[in-house]
């Protein structure tokens, strides 16, 4: 009908075969994870850093937005003369 993912409702151990099925799933998952492409940490770190630098000026908490533009900082009080 449609391919829903596995959903174990209840498992009862019977002659160890459900253990086998579970173990097979673990091995399949590990095979999948072992096969993904990875980049070097130096490359990944450089990219994280670049993102920070590129967006630093747009980060209000980093640059310290003044009271007039930050809705939460106290406004200067107007007084009637």
């Amino acid at each position: 009908m449609c391919d829903h993912q596995c959903f174990v409702y209840e498992i009862v151990k019977m002659s160890g075969s459900s253990n086998l099925v579970a173990m097979k799933k673990i091995v399949q998952q590990l095979r999948f994870e072992a096969s993904i492409n990875r980049v070097k940490v130096s490359q990944a770190a450089a990219d994280l850093q670049q993102f920070c630098m590129q967006n630093a000026l747009q980060d209000p908490l980093l640059t310290g937005v003044s009271s007039s533009t930050n809705p939460f900082r106290p406004q200067k009080v107007c007084s009637f003369l």
């Binding site: 009908m1 449609c2 391919d3 829903h4 993912q5 596995c6 959903f7 174990v8 409702y9 209840e10 498992i11 009862v12 019977m14 002659s15 160890g16 075969s17 459900s18 253990n19 086998l20 173990m23 097979k24 673990i26 091995v27 998952q29 590990l30 095979r31 999948f32 994870e33 072992a34 993904i36 990875r38 980049v39 070097k40 940490v41 130096s42 490359q43 990944a44 770190a45 450089a46 990219d47 994280l48 850093q49 993102f51 920070c52 630098m53 590129q54 967006n55 630093a56 747009q58 980060d59 209000p60 908490l61 980093l62 310290g64 937005v65 930050n70 809705p71 939460f72 900082r73 106290p74």
Partner: protein, 400 residues
Amino acid sequence: IGSHNFKEICFFERNKSCKIYSLSFFFLLPASALTTGIYMIFSTNPEMATQEVQPNETLTNLKAESDTLKTKLEDERAKLHDVELHQVAEKVDGLGQFIMKTRRTLKGHGNKVLCMDWCKDKRRIVSSSQDGKVIVWDAFTTNKEHAVTMPCTWVMACAYAPSGCAVACGGLDNKCSVYPLSLDKNENLAAKKKSVAMHTNYLSACSFTNSDMQILTSSGDGTCALWDVESGQLLQSFHGHTADVLCLDLAPSETGNTFVSGGCDKKANVWDMRSGQCIQSFETHESDINSVRYYPSGDAFASGSDDATCRLYDLRADREVAIYSKESIIFGASSVDFSLSGRLLFGGYNDYTINVWDVLKGTRVSILFGHENRVSTLRLSPDGTAFCTGSWDHTLRIWA
């Protein structure tokens, strides 16, 4: 062991909010007695359905292969570990002094605040607490706009819908319910409540996806699930955690259909929302992971744990790349979030404080005091001008 035939036997509805296929499989016992296994629901993935256990795939062989693969994974990750993040960031300017204070205090909950979320309009907030109350606040004025009493205590999860027209919440009732927010203050919100998600244990976190139409949930039953709000139908479920799942975060929309979850099994898993597959898994924390949050670029995520550390995991390097910890910090981190540029990581801790970390250099830039009990939840406002914390001291604070 015997041959296994996986056949679709029948299709039935467990309840109106999810449909499960039921299959039974037959074992040939030595006495040649046929016994049906208890209902095990399998995917109709053709590969799975036609699999038969080969004689040499014994439990021992599989265990050995599993160990080999785990070692191979560690080796592959280690090979690419040529430098530390903070070394790369040595040339970056250090951050100056940070002066962040409580700018608003939201009082009104009668018990511990467990969760909060911002509305996209950058001023409304929804919060939930142990006493079963869910309150919608205007954070600028600190006024309460709506209040709902849930039929259960410990409302551990709440979320604002992207449209701003509804909130979702749940906890010990094992459900996630959606309440449309009415403009009419006198209207009884509870009357229009819609039950969306059903888990077999407490709801720990929930989040709308890009629209009001779908909700992602995580639960103490060890699973995460994606639901259609209108019909309550289960669209996808995510299995892999071996203990309670405590938190989840959706990837920034530009980076595609993935989300990360963290649990009591000390693992943080990244999932493909369409297939339900776990794509990457990280297990370096030494205790429960209470909070996970994507780095703004979507290439990494941070986690906060009961082991008193926060960590940064890079998805493309497939490994942990930073640990944010100090000897003086011995209480767990309950909640983490990044500033807009990703340079700052805010962590709410069980020792009542908020530690602010320089994500690149790995150092702490500030410690914020104010709450009188543990900080349980922390979120940056949508425009990054402030962040909000909720605490067991019954209050929420806005910091800027």
